[in-house]
Symmetry: C2
Subunit: 132 residues, 2 copies
């Protein structure tokens, strides 16, 4: 599939897809005509990358993260002490973010509940459970 379709399916603008590729977060096979030619696996990848970026991680960090995820699928990932320390720091930052967001999530849920707008809470779950 071409970049336009990929953009549509991921909700990520073509411009950004190219940007992420430029930052080394993505690879794009090329067709004979020079067009980027994506497969299903790229849809997942783009969603993941965009998600992390939106979660406040700089692309530089996202890069090592997804490289690690790729590597983690293989056996015995190598990881020198110094790298591990950097990872531990990033882990801390990520945990902080999760804690912050979780708290806000709970607050919003609570407010929606108490204001009788709980119906809005199920909409999303319904959508993700039975996608169009």
């Amino acid at each position: 599939m071409k970049i336009g379709e990929l953009a549509e399916r991921t909700g990520v603008a073509p411009r950004l897809v190219r940007y992420y590729e430029q930052q080394g977060l993505l690879t794009a096979p090329r067709a004979a005509n020079g067009y980027r030619d994506y497969g299903e696996e790229h849809v997942e990848r783009v969603r993941r990358v965009a998600g992390l970026v939106q979660a406040g991680l700089p692309t530089r960090v996202v890069k090592v993260l997804i490289e690690m995820e790729d590597a983690a699928a293989l056996a015995r990932p190598t990881c020198p002490r110094q790298v591990a320390e950097v990872l531990a720091v990033e882990l801390g930052g990520i945990e902080d973010r999760i804690a912050c967001l979780t708290r806000s999530r709970d607050t919003i849920r609570d407010v929606l509940q108490r204001t009788e707008h709980a119906a809005l809470l199920s909409e999303r779950a319904a959508r993700t459970a039975a996608p169009a």
Copy 2:
């Protein structure tokens, strides 16, 4: 306490504290000399605001979020349907972020475990449990 001390205790640069205030995320009582004069409650507040901003939320969203947290402490928060819908959308974005970050967190933990650097995992917990 003055802005310098606040900055030290929160790890947020004075410049940013002023910026957050300018964006309406913070209020700062003034001393007779015009200096901002913070109390303990502001330390918490600044940490919270900075955390949310680092988690990728625009200040504009952080603003309504913390205002809501303040209001949620009171009884019967008012919340017209239209506002509730906006909240539901934000909630969705936040849940997405949490999911993304959680996945990365698990991956990093997994890698640290499997590379025998699990010791780094406990350091943080130890620090937050027994702060200096």
